[in-house]
Symmetry: D2
Subunit: 349 residues, 4 copies
């Protein structure tokens, strides 16, 4: 860290700061300027709290010079990480689309939706069996029965499956069915959960908390990485701002920022990011144009009767049109959105 | 809810909205104005998602007319709730101060601090054994050993004890030692945890999430109340805004707002709310002046060497001075901050 | 507006509300439900302050049912407005790019930059002669000399010109040189200025205030429209959030939202929206993919020596590459970015 | 500033940064650490844009080490400024209360209200003749006639007068009537206006912009100070956050922060800060408890019929009660709220 002393700081105050920094394990460099003394402190441990120095007498400001995360940083690993689930590679040239219902509701609903998203070019089925709901009176998901439906539909349509895990107690069960374990925005700082997921062999899709800074998000990824699980996919899903017309403000600029700071792949969830079906397509296009590695989109075979989030779920026909638009946009930045040979045949019918 | 149709909405669109509302279980009242049709929908279930109507053709806007919470509302229970831990009553005329270290670090640290806060007039000892830390490399707490130290110090100094529980797996243990179970800001929407705490017989201190609206906060309280635990204390601890000089922006106005919407007691944590020791006293005074039922304050016998949050922990002498200031302020709004006879004797030494 | 009474509201309180609404000029409809009374108020005047009812005894909530703006709304004018400056049409099928330096600094700088942006396909030159700067010690612009340089360069390269007007006293001068008058974010609610611009015959480019809601932005447009000037172009340029890595958070979702609420064209300024050159291209692509009618981009022939905003100004070669990418993206949503025949010839050299 | 290079920065990149800093007029100190090179740059000019260095290759981060303001800082002037209007001293031991209607509406309204606030202990009458309104259709103030009414009432009741000036063109007129010139939140960055007010001999009350950082606010004060007017009073009036229950979030913590950074007095406006009458008293008490030098409060003799902001205006009886509460709180921090001998007599009637 760099400690900037006040212009009127006394020599005694300066010495006190130097002593504190030394005690904290730092190597100290002092620069005495005409107006101010500036003290550089390097080495030391990553988690030293700069505020401990900030409150000392005579200190004007303390500036941190390293990110508090390491394994998640591009400095640590310059090449981008590709998270692979068999032949589906997130973080490669192909933009990977994950789509499906908010919650699993019935065999028919899951299967019909899976067929539709596969046909349009999605590679991964999304769907929840455990739902975090802000009201205790809302539909809370089907649990294991939902996971069975989702796995069945994924297999029937050659899709991979991503599903949410809300608590440590659910990990073992969700791991049996899903290919990717999703951590929801409200759990981004559930550190007990993150630490356990660090021991899992399945990739983790980590949503950004609704008011998390990018640094906090990468620190949460660090919990998983530090536990030994290198397969973390970041997912931007909207941040909370004063604007109330949209449910959240989808932070598209997080895409290029994360790409610079970290090697981890980043995808975007325009469904939660906007909360309204008619805003999903424009924001999905924007995400791909800005360089996202993938999308997570809610599609429902009958959104008007969905048990949760119907208002932000696309109709299959809307999703088809969106995928066609994305296929035009992706090449502008050297990416592609593939259609499987099988799917292309299905498309012809 | 109230559905406002667009000026150019067709009769067919209006009928479609009415049908949807009826299917959702609402009684429907239609007002056909010169310019617009407005449809009132009452009854129905509390958790109906207004966005399902919002996305229908011809709908201009949907306005919700009831809070989605019930047990937490003052409509449901007009008289203020008093949460009692033996003779310590939170929500009564006395402003209750909870103080102590961020984390339990050693017997000596916990005992020295407990003695100091008791002497100054605190009624409840605070201290953590399980610490949620944004970095995996930071000190994570002493676990059960910390709880034992805290309980010992609380008993030795006739204080009650509040301590944080981070995960369902820790509830049983923390319940054995603490009188009040604290839910941290990052766990405000850990619904699995909230649901379990609804079954506990110990009061729950529920911190507001860093970007939670007051409505979401009351909905989280509803999870605990709906589980059968009526003893919930709300704790404002700062929200995230664009201002970066303070760690968070302590939302003092949440105090009168919560007092109007809910019967639950509300206390304020100015230590996390500001993140800096020199801002704690002014904000603690402001909280009491605005009508808070209590305070949660970090005090450490040696803040410069605290293992966590030292920068925002008060020295015991600062805490003494603050308590003296608060004793002047509280009567302005008909409240008091009592000194125990024993404490008053100790004060004389 | 719709007034929702408390469940325990007395008949006297209800009558008082009805009397107040009647006095305010509203037609009143009362619905007495099992639990609550809801009072609908229509007609009345657009500017009636709902808070006057909100503070009455027994009132639970007041819900507004109409936007307070009229001329700016799509309800008032369903077809999209095209703002034309000769043959350059903003709001039509073509995505219009406005580019140039932050400030006019010298003849050479302005001319070199104008030539570069014209060659790449821009239709309008941007550049400031009066600069609003947060510090009184920063470069404040060249004034009329700057306007002369900008007009000269625009004419020499067959570009139109947009330039900022900061105060009523500058309108007459800027009107003589510029084709479009820009109102900066900090002046979005300078109502004296907006009212005067309502009398101008030149189109107005109205930037969104840094923390303005979309409703407030449209109300500011209403000031200009109500004054008789129908040619208003809205410009999203980033809002202030807690995220500090980017200077602002560019709100891409404002594009589809404004398109739904209003008939006015909307363009995006990714230079101020991100504050960093390396983030401009991804965000420009995102804006076009989301449906923006145009872009406002800072390009400088020598950004390292720019007198203002050099860090967010693109090099001409970066701008060339961006324009090529945008030409791939625009067709995905049925738009185009044209190259002039002349420019295309120039390109070949 | 301090430039932190990336761990993998080349010697060539480091030399390029040093050259750029030298060209910008800085003295450069280089520290080559084991992992990173850190470059300290002192001297140089206050307005140098750190982003110009931030975008250079190999640069990890640039940290600014001085505030961009000078005259407003406590470093420049360690003793607190007292702004005196005759014998009314803002920034001294007495907490000064400014109260009155949002807008002047009629002689009777202004006089009745002035009499009431004087009797309760206010020293300064507030009231607007030029009103900035977000809608062009709202009441815009009485102009000079309003100023005359306000001056008359102030004189009749031995009060000083504060009134808003919205535009350079209004300064001369408002100066003739008011003792203190108010700059509204929306004009906090109207630099043309601020610069002109720097030439005025009347004190300036500068409201914080609705999303202004404290640094930007102090920079706006710097515009006035740099123009030669040393009498600036800062006024916190609420910032915009995601919480929508209150109109704004009154940032009480800005009081101790400003007190540390600047020598200027700071007062608080709880009327705009909350937007609701029933929240004004708690927040006014909180402001005084936190150390505010004064308050700006809307009081109206008949709030239900106010032409603007009636919902947030107090009844005179509520204001009386508040003043009594404040007289208990102020001594807790060594302040007072005086009653004039005359007023005390009046009080007895």
């Amino acid at each position: 860290m760099v400690v900037v002393m006040e212009e009127r700081a006394t020599e005694e105050q300066i010495q006190h700061v130097i002593a504190q920094l030394t005690e904290m394990g730092f190597d100290v460099h002092r620069s005495t300027g005409a107006l101010r003394t500036v003290i550089g402190a390097v080495g030391g441990n990553r988690e030293a709290d700069p505020r401990l120095v900030e409150v000392l007498d005579g200190v004007h400001e303390v500036l941190r010079i390293t990110e508090p995360y390491k394994l998640a940083s591009r400095t640590f690993k310059p090449d981008g990480t590709v998270v692979a689930v068999d032949d589906v590679r997130i973080g490669g040239d192909e933009v990977i689309v994950m789509a499906g219902p908010c919650s699993a509701e019935s065999e028919t609903q899951v299967n019909t939706t899976a067929a539709a998203v596969k046909r349009a070019g999605a590679k991964i089925l999304r769907g929840g069996a455990f739902k975090p709901r802000s009201s205790p009176y809302s539909f809370q998901g089907l649990g294991e029965a939902g996971l069975q439906m989702l796995r069945g539909a994924a297999d029937a349509h050659q899709l991979k499956l991503v599903s949410e895990v809300m608590d440590v107690s659910q990990i073992e069960q969700v791991e049996q069915y899903a290919d990717i374990l999703q951590v929801g925005a409200r759990n981004m700082q559930n550190f007990t959960l993150l630490r356990e997921l660090g021991r899992s062999r399945k990739p983790v899709l980590l949503k950004r908390g609704i008011s998390a800074t990018i640094e906090e998000w990468l620190l949460s990824a660090e919990y998983v990485l530090a536990g030994g699980n290198q397969d973390v996919i970041l997912c931007e899903r909207g941040i909370r701002t004063f604007e109330s017309y949209t449910r959240n403000t989808l932070d598209i600029s997080a895409i290029p920022v994360v790409k610079k700071l970290s090697h981890l792949p980043i995808i975007v969830d325009p469904s939660h990011g906007t909360g309204r079906r008619d805003k999903v397509a424009p924001m999905a296009r924007a995400a791909v144009a800005a360089g996202a590695d993938g999308l997570l989109i809610e599609v429902h075979c009958d959104p008007d009767h969905a048990l949760s989030d119907g208002a932000q779920s696309m109709f299959p026909s809307q999703f088809d049109r969106l995928m066609a638009e994305l296929r035009i946009i992706a090449p502008a930045i050297g990416r592609s959105i593939c259609l499987e040979p099988v799917a292309r045949r299905g498309w012809g019918h």
